[in-house]
Amino acid sequence: MKKFRVYVTYKPSVFDPQGDTITDAAKDLGYQSIQAIHVGKFFDIEVDDSKGTAAQTVEELAEKLLVNFNLEVYRYEQLGGD
């Protein structure tokens, strides 16, 4: 079994109102030192690797399902595993 984490973020060119809203909320709370907040999501994926193709599976899954390339980019890394 291997564990991967896929990080998905908006492309820098795409406006993300969520990050801005949270930044504003932080300032409203009095945290003036906060300059910017950006939001992303990640997927922790546990994959059986008995065929040795786990990383490839994760990539395929990311590209077919987890990421919309109109908006988003992704990056992944392997976490600890056995």
Binding site: S13, P17, Q18, L65, L66, N68, N70
Partner: protein
């Protein structure tokens, strides 16, 4: 005319479309589950609104990968009419049958209210009964209706007259160039965020959407 209404797990406007077609248009409408793999014998395909797969990943993303979408692609490639409404529009973009993507509304909330639209392209199979530039009102009900595509794609859409409906007076969700509905290059695949099926009878307050279905009915076979 035989119309297919695709039912994805979580679709919830399927029965509204069925009602409009069978009871108001008097044509045969059949529910086709997303597990089916062919659309033989149908003359038009409708992808309803709703929350397919709970909209749990991105709206329409999981539905776009269901078996039926292969058949929808073939159907569209053969030039026959396909329309996706609300979640159906999201599914068509996720399946790359239409360009762009529907982002979260810029106020980050679900919005249900009537909006003013202009019919920009009355040449699609779903808009021939409208006059070009006609101003109509239709309800919207979505949290991800904010159409986005990169600037080059948007230019192309504009140049090829692929914008079918545009918000006028006020843009409810932040969509680029006030886009409310688009079609593919060939014009036979249409996606729109507003709900014409909820505005097809006076008793529910508005019938300005009924022409979408009347346009489809007037097609020759």
């Amino acid at each position: 005319m035989r119309v297919a209404i695709i039912v994805f797990p979580g679709s919830n406007c399927d029965s509204d479309l069925h009602y409009v077609l069978e009871n108001l248009c008097h044509v045969s409408a059949k529910y086709v589950p997303s597990t089916a793999t062919n659309l033989d014998g149908f003359d038009a395909v409708l992808l309803p609104g709703g929350f397919s797969y709970g909209d749990y990943l991105r709206c329409g993303a999981i539905a776009a990968l269901t078996p039926i979408m292969g058949a929808v692609r073939q159907f569209a490639d053969s030039g026959k009419p396909v329309i996706g409404i609300c979640n159906g529009f999201q599914i068509l973009t996720e399946a790359h049958l239409l360009p762009g993507v529907l982002k979260k509304n810029d106020n980050l909330k679900f919005i249900c209210r009537p909006v003013a639209l202009q019919v920009e392209n009355n040449g699609t199979p779903f808009t021939t009964k409208y006059v070009k530039d006609e101003k109509i009102h239709l309800p919207i009900a979505h949290s991800d209706g904010n159409f986005y595509a990169d600037p080059a794609t948007v230019d192309e859409l504009e140049q090829n007259h692929q914008i079918v409906f545009r918000y006028v007076d006020q843009n409810p969700n932040g969509s680029v160039n006030n886009i409310a509905g688009i079609c593919n290059r060939r014009g036979n695949v249409v996606g729109m965020m507003p709900h014409p099926e909820r505005a097809s009878e006076k008793i529910v307050g508005n019938n300005e959407g009924f022409k979408v279905f009347q346009s489809l009915l007037s097609l020759k076979h």
